[in-house]
Amino acid sequence: MKQRITYQPGNSLLHRLHPLIKGGWLLLGTVFVFAIPNPWVVLSTVVFLLFSFHLSGLPPGKVRGLRLFTTTALLLGGLQVLFVRRGMVLLQLGPLAVTAGGVEAGLYVAGRFVSVVLLSYLFVLTTEPNDLAYTLMRAGLPYRYGFALITALRLVPVFEQEGQIVYSAQLARGVQYDVRSPRRFLTLARQFFLPLLVSALGKVDALAVSMEGRCFGRYPTRTFLREVRATWLDGLALGLLVLAVTALGIGKLAGW
């Protein structure tokens, strides 16, 4: 059974890290793989990230969607290998020539892509979304936006479940998902989405009554009882983050 692309409870180092500091590392990691012009460093990053998956108790093979991203990365890399002609020719197949520069570019592009995907997955799978939203709001994000995020997180599984019910209800009335023409596709799409839309509108009404009934939006600010406490581990991670950002900045300025 593949895991959904959502928070997976755990107690690993990454799970325990403060969401904002983890977000900082996500940002730095993304900048890093684009700023470093060495494909072998990028590939080392991929290996490191896979090791981080292992340490966090998240087997990459069981994460939903990862196969699609890997295939896309291979495709992107493959195109570079085939069409970039630079340096020594390693292989000649008729009109196609695989060059050392092409292989390097392929590894670089695929590595960057996979790194960003793995980083994002690690962040999403190890960060409790509620903690993230509340931390962002405490850090200054207007609370209306923070609760928009929380509401979206809450409603996604609800609509997923309702979509399954509508699909089952259609099968129970003999609907066959046989897309023979664009017109048939549109009919099927309308018949599927209309009940979901009506249900969503009803839910929005109920939610609006519930929020206004509890004074949401009455004042420009609000208090927060929930807090995500920073630990010595977060201090260490923050220190390392600052050092890494500084090193990367100096390195870029020095032209390394």
Partner: protein, 490 residues
């Protein structure tokens, strides 16, 4: 506390008045139960008392609504919300956060209360609903009854003077229903606030001696003591308790084991259902009733054992083909309306099965007329009232003449008259040689219509017997809330 004078309201784009010249006075600390048929204006009245009706819903209003001296039509919604709390029908739809603690603190944080006061109020609100142990739980892990308790606590935390419950038990099994009504009684006793409960299951509330307000067609038709009110009852159908066993079964279930994500839900189920049987499936929420129903249509496949419907093994036949012989009505009417007119909806399945001939057309026409939808054929299904949608759901499933009809809690939110109508239609199907299997939380309905009761407990069949005998066995098991004397209307 609440004074309503000459209140009328019509929703935008509607020709019909949802409320007509409503006059109502409610004293501080009073306990009022509002009842009436589906679509009679009960929930609209609740929205009017909370002031939401005049802000969030477009429409024409006249008359006065005064709550604790405030004009609910003019006052900012937040001022009225300090006095009136509204617990809506579906707790899922009103949750704004992901955990119990966040949900209870939500309204208090919005009011910018200091942390110490928030903590004190959270503790008080959860203890009054008997849910202090739920504080650290994610909302998604709670049962239906627990969710409703949290929804109530979230409103109670604001310490309102009036608390309105809009059908708070409609999605709950009898055990959870009894618990919620106990919570409401406790709130009245301990907090001394005005309580208004909109409810079909009025018999549960008799011991609390509330004032009854009965509505019909947007008007209040009765207000006074419970004892003098006319309470609509289902007709005393009492079908034959003799189970037909001589015929070939429509359903044969053998050693059925089924689950989700490796977690078993149904264990070792074996049973036959014969033509002419009206089977009620009862049991606590989460006991496996709906899963069992879905397995009969092949929506869920067994990982051990087998399910046969009219000799067809559900593992080897597509659902869309099995659906010719099995009609399935789901819980929410809006989830199963796909066409653009009532007529198109009624013949939707027949078209898919390629069986829409002249004879079928005339049968569907007859069914629509019988269900009071004959004049609404060209209307969009979403323009129908809740009760009418339910009838259309049933027509559209019965139209192609399935031998087996499966129903998942279709009586939720239905008044006695609508429920009786639907049940009569189903009863007719059993007389014509079909079988009906219905998930149902109302013992009264089971008593009056079913000739067999199957009671689920933890994914297993705890009782499977003719209705009378089954109720006796439930009594012996200490499941009094499932007996007809514990009583629900519909």
């Amino acid at each position: 506390m609440i004074v309503i004078e000459g209140l009328s309201f019509r929703f935008q784009a509607s020709e019909r008045y949802a409320l007509r010249d409503v006059n109502l006075w409610i004293a501080p600390g009073e306990f009022v139960v509002v009842t009436g048929p589906s679509g009679c204006g009960k929930s609209t009245l609740a929205l009017a008392i909370g002031g939401y009706l005049f802000r969030q819903y477009g429409g024409q209003a006249s008359g006065k609504v005064t709550v604790a001296g405030m004009d609910a039509r003019q006052c900012p919604i937040y001022d009225v919300a300090e006095v009136v709390g509204l617990v809506q029908q579906n707790p899922e739809a009103q949750f704004c956060t992901l955990t119990v603690q966040d949900e209870i603190t939500f309204g208090l944080e919005n009011r910018c209360l200091p942390h110490d006061e928030i903590r004190e109020r959270v503790g008080w609100a959860l203890s009054i609903v008997g849910a202090a142990h739920l504080l650290r739980r994610p909302l998604a892990t709670l049962s239906g009854g627990e969710k409703q308790k949290v929804a109530i606590a979230a409103m109670m935390a604001a310490k309102p003077q009036v608390l309105i419950f809009d059908e708070p038990t409609s999605n709950l099994d009898p055990t959870a229903t009894a618990e919620i009504f106990e919570v409401i009684a406790r709130i009245r006793a301990e907090a001394g606030i005005t309580v208004i409960v909109i409810e079909h299951k009025v018999d549960y509330l008799l011991p609390f001696e509330p004032r009854m307000v009965a509505m019909e067609g947007g008007r209040i038709i009765y207000t006074g003591p419970f004892s003098k009110a006319h309470r609509p009852r289902l007709p005393d159908r009492r079908p034959s308790r003799l189970l037909p066993t001589e015929t070939e079964p429509i359903v044969r279930v053998e050693n059925l084991n089924l689950g989700y994500n490796g977690h078993p839900v149904l264990r070792d189920l074996s049973l036959d259902v014969h033509p002419g049987e009206f089977v009620a499936l009862m049991g606590d929420n989460g006991s496996g009733k709906t899963t069992f129903l879905q397995s009969l249509l092949g929506l869920l496949k067994p990982y051990q054992g087998r399910v046969q419907v009219l000799g067809q093994d559900t593992r080897h036949i597509p659902v869309s083909r099995l659906a010719r012989d099995v009609g399935f009505v789901f819980q929410n009417p809006d989830h199963q309306l796909f066409a653009e007119s009532v007529w198109q909806e009624a013949v939707f399945a027949c078209r898919n099965f390629g069986s829409l001939d002249e004879r079928t057309r005339s049968q569907v026409q007859e069914l629509l007329v019988h269900c009071g939808l004959g004049e609404r054929k060209e209307d969009h299904p979403y323009r129908l009232s809740y009760g009418e949608k339910r009838r259309l759901n049933l027509v559209s499933v019965l139209a192609h003449g399935p031998q087996l009809v499966l129903l998942d809690e279709v009586l939720i939110g239905q008044d006695a008259a609508n429920a009786a109508f639907l049940l009569e239609l189903l009863h007719r199907r059993t007389e014509q040689g079909g079988a009906v299997i219905m998930v149902n939380h109302a013992p009264e309905v089971t008593w009056r219509y079913a000739n067999r009761l199957i009671f689920f407990n933890g994914g297993r069949i705890a009782v499977d017997a003719p209705t009378e005998e089954a109720f006796q066995r439930l009594k012996a098991m200490g499941r009094e809330v499932y007996l007809p004397s514990a009583g629900t209307e519909s």
